[in-house]
Symmetry: C2
Subunit: 203 residues, 2 copies
Amino acid sequence: MNEKFFSLDQEKQERIINAALKEFGQKGFQKASTNEIVKEAGISKGLLFHYFNNKKGLYLFLFDYAVDRLVERIFSNENQLMEDVFERFLQITIQKLHLFKKHPDLLDFLMTAMDDETIQYDLKNREMLEQAYQRVFAGIDYSRFKSGIDIEKALKVIFWTFQGFGEEEQENLKQLGIQHYDINRVKTRMEDYIQLLRQLFYE
Amino acid sequence: MNEKFFSLDQEKQERIINAALKEFGQKGFQKASTNEIVKEAGISKGLLFHYFNNKKGLYLFLFDYAVDRLVERIFSNENQLMEDVFERFLQITIQKLHLFKKHPDLLDFLMTAMDDETIQYDLKNREMLEQAYQRVFAGIDYSRFKSGIDIEKALKVIFWTFQGFGEEEQENLKQLGIQHYDINRVKTRMEDYIQLLRQLFYE
DNA sequence: AGTATAATTGACTAAACTGGTCAATGATAT
DNA sequence: ATATCATTGACCAGTTTAGTCAATTATACT
């Protein structure tokens, strides 16, 4: 790729990246259309190929970019994960929403790119991703759970609750639009659910 | 359409229908490719246009078909919905899995077809669908819930749990393949979760 | 103001793919 | 052997594909 891409307006960079994430995320590498990407990004055909010299170059750049953004948001060493399940999932859900706000199609792109056979990457990023996912569930404090509760299943119920909540919030964000959506208020909304979950699961 | 389609081997009918559901579900009406559909279904180009005389004819047929299958599985009058939340959602989840087993892409197709602007249907089917969705949550018995619990939020936690469980089972079904997947054993797996949920929510 | 350099455009290409047709072939039943 | 049916895939004109490149515009420097 052409490093001067990073000298563009940040807003323009993001327009291009988001358009590409969306198209590749929806259709996979082969069937994604560069025409569609430049149309959505509002740039000319030539410019895209000027910065990423061909389709595969763009795809590979995007994969690295997406992994970087995910790790820096959720798994970076600064963001130390809480021991309390609810605090931890609250934290992660908020971070995912921030990520979704900037790059609505990044997570979907990563999911589908992970098992795309048409390309094989440097495996570095792949491994980093898989390690990261394990960290989400490692070192949780279960001591406060009511006795007689199946911890494994309880954890799944909690996980699915946060997942469902997060998807609902993403829907809201899409509907309301980026400017009318206040992420801090999500925190209070989610704390109502956490209160319920604590009531249910904790002694 | 050509009614003789229904005289084909049932297996062949389903191959064609499933291939079309998948393609339309993934790409929408405009961008779906009839070439892709016949390739996936393993039939010739001519045959598809012999039975459904053009692309739009196929799409309209599929929509009616999909609504019929959904209603007959989940919302038909024989399948009276239980008053107990957990019994009801258990029932619905099982029925959805049966549907998914025969037509893995039917529900996704319906979702995307609902807000496809390129075509306007007889609204009969649309209305039927929306009424049906409301029935899922109507007439539930809340009397056994512990006092001091926010019923509205509790219902969402329960819904998200069944949703997460259902999606996980669909993943298993895809992975294991249709022949090694026993739906009756799902019931017992789900009853473990129901036991936990009862323990949590019921007096 | 003038000139050099870099950013950006979009018309253009050959190849692939699009929805749809139809004469030819294969299968089945009488 | 014949008639009726199901099925095929080469073929069509039109669109879309990834990628190129001469030409235009914007920026920077003297």
